[in-house]
């Protein structure tokens, strides 16, 4: 049978172009028996329905993946979220992870840092260095990336409300290493809307928060073009208990809000849209999760093209990071968590993820130990090098179930996105609690199914055992808070305090007007103004957001 002209066209254009730039990992992919594994399996008859809804990888609507060769070309980035205690301690963990073959860093900040408090703030008591690393000033950031070349490593930073400050510090560290801002690679989460909905590290009300985000889009477009300016996150929405379709809906609705805000501020769509990245959860329902990733990719491409009129291909592509679902980890029989994580990671890989974090087995008890983090990373390496699922693109495509489920998730998510729009948009639906209620109801229903035994969680409500052995726990030493405060005091004693005060005043004046705040923040951090000082200036001008409860 003759090759379908559209397939031939794809091979000659997208595929050939991609192969000429990035050859595949192997000249020939074969199975154990020596048979060649096809790059892409397609239906015998390629029809309009196939072309409209699936198409070819690296081609609209991107259902089968954003790159023409997907994981045959390059494996996903194995990126383990880590950070705890002090900058020096976290720096050691990062260098360990890089030694073990991780290919990108992902920084976890402690809660005071995420909410814009210095370690010596009254609000920081008990939280310093607990769930991530404490960063008060550029001095800590210099320690955090000591001997890690920022032109070689890409870094993802889970930071939202004060993202502008941490980004400025990161760029400043790069400059000190001799790395130009344009060569800096990585991602800041910078997704405030899901903080109001599900994660909780907001500082300012929505409007000034959205301004800061737009400021970052614009500044990065001019200064750090290789940096992803936002990671629009469904992960935490799902962790809070949403369904798969709600995860897609609320995430993409947030995405549309950022796009619209940036357009309203006069930014050019095809300039900033290419730097938008996404972040999803991989839960245990393998097939539903694979369908979810495919549906999200297709729906975003359609929204960007049809609703916003994006022209550039890169603007249409939903590129995403995945983390396995923390909420599915059990405190009981923790070795079972390795199996859960494997299934979830497999879903992410089959769903075409660009990067992946695998959770460690002990995280229902505490931050992971070095040993359990290694096992989590090895899980990815086994999938990448032994499972074979990376050798052919979008291998579950064409399954009756997967395709119908992909369609259903897309349909359900779109209906919810439209409903939010009709109800006045995302910000209004957050302020009146509509989105939070949807998630709470889904979470409650799910948990009650477990309580009633209708949903089995192995080792929790069935197959329980009496456990004698307690897992070794990673503990953050209580002295961390004290020594972090001492370091902060030292920084404040050794900087030019007059200069800092005057830069903070300039920032305050700028915040009252309409200027892009990034250059002002950048000037502040270079003089070692602290995160808390900068955020307090902005609190004064912008006010603070309070949760409804």
């Amino acid at each position: 049978m003759a090759k379908h002209p559209k397939l031939a066209e794809w091979e000659e254009n997208e595929l050939a172009k991609s192969l000429s730039r990035f050859p595949e990992r192997k000249a020939k992919f074969t199975n154990h028996g020596g048979d060649e594994i096809p790059r892409l399996a397609t239906p015998e008859t390629i029809d309009e329905h196939y072309l409209d809804n699936l198409g070819f990888p690296g081609q609209y609507p991107y259902t089968r993946g954003v790159q023409p060769t997907m994981h045959r070309g390059r494996l996903w980035t194995m990126r383990q979220y880590a950070g705890f205690s002090s900058a020096a301690e976290s720096n050691k963990r990062y260098r360990y992870l890089l030694d073990q073959g991780t290919t990108g860093l992902s920084v976890a900040f402690d809660l005071p840092t995420q909410i814009g408090y210095d370690s010596d703030d009254q609000m920081s008591i008990g939280e310093v260095g607990k769930v991530g690393v404490a960063i008060d000033s550029l001095a800590d950031m210099e320690t955090l990336f000591d001997q890690i070349p920022l032109d070689k490593v890409s870094t993802s930073m889970t930071i939202n409300s004060p993202a502008a400050v941490l980004l400025a510090m990161y760029v400043a560290v790069g400059e000190k290493q001799g790395v130009a801002p344009k060569d800096i690679q990585g991602t800041i989460q910078n997704d405030i809307l899901k903080e109001y909905v599900a994660r909780g590290t907001y500082i300012f009300p929505p409007k000034p928060s959205l301004r800061l985000i737009t400021n970052i889009f614009q500044w990065c477009g001019q200064n750090t073009p290789a940096f992803n300016t936002i990671s629009i996150s469904g992960y935490h929405i799902r962790e809070a208990g949403s369904t798969a379709a709600q995860e897609v809906a609320f995430t993409l609705a947030n995405g549309c809000t950022y796009v619209q805000t940036a357009l309203d501020a006069g930014l050019e769509l095809d300039v900033f849209a290419r730097r938008l990245a996404f972040f999803f959860n991989a839960s245990s329902d393998l097939l539903e999760e694979v369908a979810k990733f495919r549906a999200a990719r297709r729906l975003w491409a359609r929204l960007m093209k049809e609703r916003f009129g994006a022209k550039n291909k890169a603007s249409l592509m939903l590129r995403f990071h995945t983390q396995t679902a923390g909420n599915t980890l059990t405190a009981q029989q923790i070795d079972n968590n390795i199996v859960r994580v494997t299934i979830q990671a497999l879903a992410a890989v089959l769903g075409g993820t660009q990067s992946l974090h695998t959770n460690s087995k002990d995280e229902a008890h505490s931050l992971p130990t070095e040993e359990s983090v290694r096992t989590a990373l090895r899980t990815q390496q086994v999938l990448a090098h032994e499972s074979g699922v990376v050798d052919t693109i979008d291998p579950l495509a064409g399954s009756y179930y997967i395709e119908s489920l992909t369609d259903k998730i897309e349909r359900d998510a779109l209906a919810l996105i439209d409903k939010i729009e009709e109800s006045g948009g995302v910000v209004k639906c957050i302020e009146d609690g509509f989105i939070q209620r949807q998630i709470e109801n889904a979470a409650y229903q799910y948990q009650m199914e477990i309580e009633r035994g209708e949903r089995i969680i192995v080792g929790v409500n069935k197959f329980q055992i009496q456990e004698e052995k307690k897992p070794p726990l990673l503990r953050v030493a209580p002295e961390v808070e004290e020594s972090q405060i001492a370091k902060l005091t030292e920084v404040k004693n050794n900087r030019n305090n007059e200069q800092v005060a005057s830069l903070l005043t300039r920032l305050e004046t700028a915040a009252q007007g309409d200027d892009n705040l990034m250059p002002f923040i950048y000037d502040c951090v270079k003089e070692y103004a602290t995160l808390g000082e900068i955020c307090n200036v902005l609190r004064k001008v912008f006010g603070e957001y309070k949760d409804r409860g």
Partner: protein
């Protein structure tokens, strides 16, 4: 004769900076379904704010949730804040990602009960019922 039975009142609070409130919200809703009156503070409240709310709402028990590892500082701080606010008799219960060895210390600091992941909801509800009733007869 229609004597109205007073419902047990509980304040569910999230002390500190931790934003994970899926568990807190679930407990709040499950207690409501079991006939309690429940006030949820919302996230990111200081121990003093939680104590003040408990007094103002005239609750029979306070439930705390923390998943960030700050429980050793924050849970006892709420017990102290309640005493300072003139309500040392309001029992405090807690839950979250809490290692076993911490539970002994927390109980010594006056926390009545600590629940860890996987505890059946019925166990939690009856602990709240006991705590509330002990307080009102206490």
């Amino acid at each position: 004769m229609t004597e109205k039975i007073k419902k047990n009142r509980v304040l569910v609070g999230k002390p500190g900076l931790d934003g994970h409130d899926r568990g807190a919200k679930f407990i709040a809703q499950a207690l409501r379904d079991a006939g309690f009156e429940v006030v949820y503070t919302g996230i990111r409240r200081s121990p003093e704010e939680i104590a003040a709310a408990a007094v103002q709402e005239d609750v029979d028990a306070v439930g705390l949730s923390s998943l960030s590892g700050a429980h050793m500082r924050l849970f006892p701080a709420v017990v102290e804040a309640l005493a300072k606010a003139g309500a040392p008799d309001i029992p405090v219960l807690g839950g979250g990602v809490i290692p076993e060895e911490d539970i002994i210390e927390l109980k010594a600091a006056g926390i009545v009960e600590i629940f860890t992941p996987g505890t059946p909801i019925d166990t939690i509800i009856s602990a709240y019922r006991d705590a509330c009733e002990k307080k009102s007869t206490g």
